[in-house]
Subunit: 390 residues, 2 copies
Amino acid sequence: MDRFDYYIPTKVLFGSGRIDEVGKEVSLYGKKVMLASYDKELLQNIGIYNKVVEALKAEGLKIVEFYGIKSNPVISHVNKGAELARSEKIDVILAVGGGSVIDECKVISAGAFYKGDAWDFFNGAAEVRQTLPLVTILTIPATSSEMNSGAVITDDKTMHKSGFFNPGFFPKVSILDPAITFSLNQKLTAYAAADIISHLLEGYLTHKDVWAPIQDGLMETLMKAVIMSADRIQNDPEDLHARSTMMWAGSLAWNGLPISGVGPIGYPMHMFEHSLSAIYDIHHGAGMAVIMPGWMKYDCAIDNKRYILFARNVFGITEKDDIKAAFEGIEVFRNWLIDKGAPVSFEAAKLPTDEIDKLADDVVITANAWGMQDWYSRQVIIEIFKRCFV
Amino acid sequence: MDRFDYYIPTKVLFGSGRIDEVGKEVSLYGKKVMLASYDKELLQNIGIYNKVVEALKAEGLKIVEFYGIKSNPVISHVNKGAELARSEKIDVILAVGGGSVIDECKVISAGAFYKGDAWDFFNGAAEVRQTLPLVTILTIPATSSEMNSGAVITDDKTMHKSGFFNPGFFPKVSILDPAITFSLNQKLTAYAAADIISHLLEGYLTHKDVWAPIQDGLMETLMKAVIMSADRIQNDPEDLHARSTMMWAGSLAWNGLPISGVGPIGYPMHMFEHSLSAIYDIHHGAGMAVIMPGWMKYDCAIDNKRYILFARNVFGITEKDDIKAAFEGIEVFRNWLIDKGAPVSFEAAKLPTDEIDKLADDVVITANAWGMQDWYSRQVIIEIFKRCFV
């Protein structure tokens, strides 16, 4: 085990029906709330718009609605939100959505105190000095944004995706009401599952095989829990135990706990995927499904230690030959993703296969930004992308 | 999975050498610090007294030292600490010790704002309205007090032990420096391991067998990690990986995370043990070792479902007959405790076996206080104590 800092001051209210408590929680932070989401109709369709608005009004809150947040949120829209927060003198932001909505609202919460372009926070031209309090209602379990201090945004001028962490970005309260996710269709559920597992795999596969039984056990536990939950949801989308487990796994996977103490890790799969979703606007979870099996096969051929553990402890593979078992684990995982409905290749995701030069250029930019420039040459980046073809 | 609230705002600084950061952290909360612990000599013996005092002085902090906290801390000493905090106008408390020191400091932090007897907080005569900020340096991994909002104190007038949770009791910062615990002897290490496992077992064995793969997996992971760590420490007390894992397991075991979502649980083993340590002043971890195997055998005979899981998933028992496997798990656990050096019976702990009437009376008081009055009749309480004889 290695040293680490651990700090998650977010209060989580978890359980079916907890959404009714949103008014009381938001009212702790002010009188005027910005209700931010993808669009009003979506909130109406999943049956939560009226509930949320009534709960807020019952506490006498003034509501300013802000919509148009897209998956892979863009900085131009962040700037609009920040301008609205300033002009309306918003006290508190309520993000209702998945990681995209929460991430955008985090940056808006900082932009409310900064009149320049919010992209300045991403390129180092400005620092986050103050943020509005943020409350979240999670509608898609996937990114852990509801329980961490990170935010990822795409600059829609350059189509480059970037992110950073700031302690001011921790939500004050996150309401995790798994019954909300009953209406999440099989495809989106599969993307969410792929995203959650990808967060766990980054740490699990890239740590230096240090003795960390708590962390490895927790990561394996969470991966198995996601796999079992997704299987149950495929049979019954309204399985509350499975929706609950998927949601809580999503919050824990990337909130820092599983990797606390494993020492340095990398984010190679996210580095590749960021370029896919920035350039092609593919759903991030689908993009992770495209990248994972291909990258894992490449990486396993170099050092299979962690893949043997993955195969045996997550998928219970009993093949005696360790090397065969390691690759069998990747194959079983790949087939599981297909079975859930996630695309595991460029072709399956309908991405062009003749633009990997452009993708590689973008990955190189991310690698430099993330301090991973020594991991792969541009040529290897291209080779890895090719492993993600059919 | 069931509903839950999760909230742990404590910042954890974990790793060998982190103790050097204490000055900087404490100085965030004021100018005058109460340094509280068992006794000065102990801190000198384990080599941290000078480090702590120098780190505090380097930040210009004024130090008021307060010693004499005992394991199974008593309310009369809490009241002395609270008086000192008021008269010295203390800004922030630094607890250096195990769960006893941290628990006492939590109640002192509330007593600093209350002139009456601090026992009033325990019997409902007064409410905790305000607390001094608390920073902790953990010297014994066991209770999770460094990462939760609970405090347990004994009333030295009646020798009854009582505890409660209050959000104001969360430490602001907890420094977890596993190298400090190198000097913890085999016996105390065994007691700590028993205590940590007991915290996990309460939730693991008493939840209603709900489908909770994250929670069950995490509890099993933590129990296995404690067992492996204690085995390694027995061979090499300065095994940093093992000391680190034991320390982090200790913080997670009772911080609320493992049981978040498993629904209602009970604390039967703690209910029995509280009377042992209150009346006989036995080390709490040793008391847990005395109670656990006996209570588990009694409980397993009534419903073995959770014990089958414990045997198979924690100890890897392969006996095909489930009932046999369940009891074999308890036996293997009991023998493991003995091997580490923990007492697993009244006799081994040198406790009298002819006073269980008195013990039973005290357990009945605790059962009422904890809402567990329907769990066992007084007669069954006596029967369970007898199971803890050789």
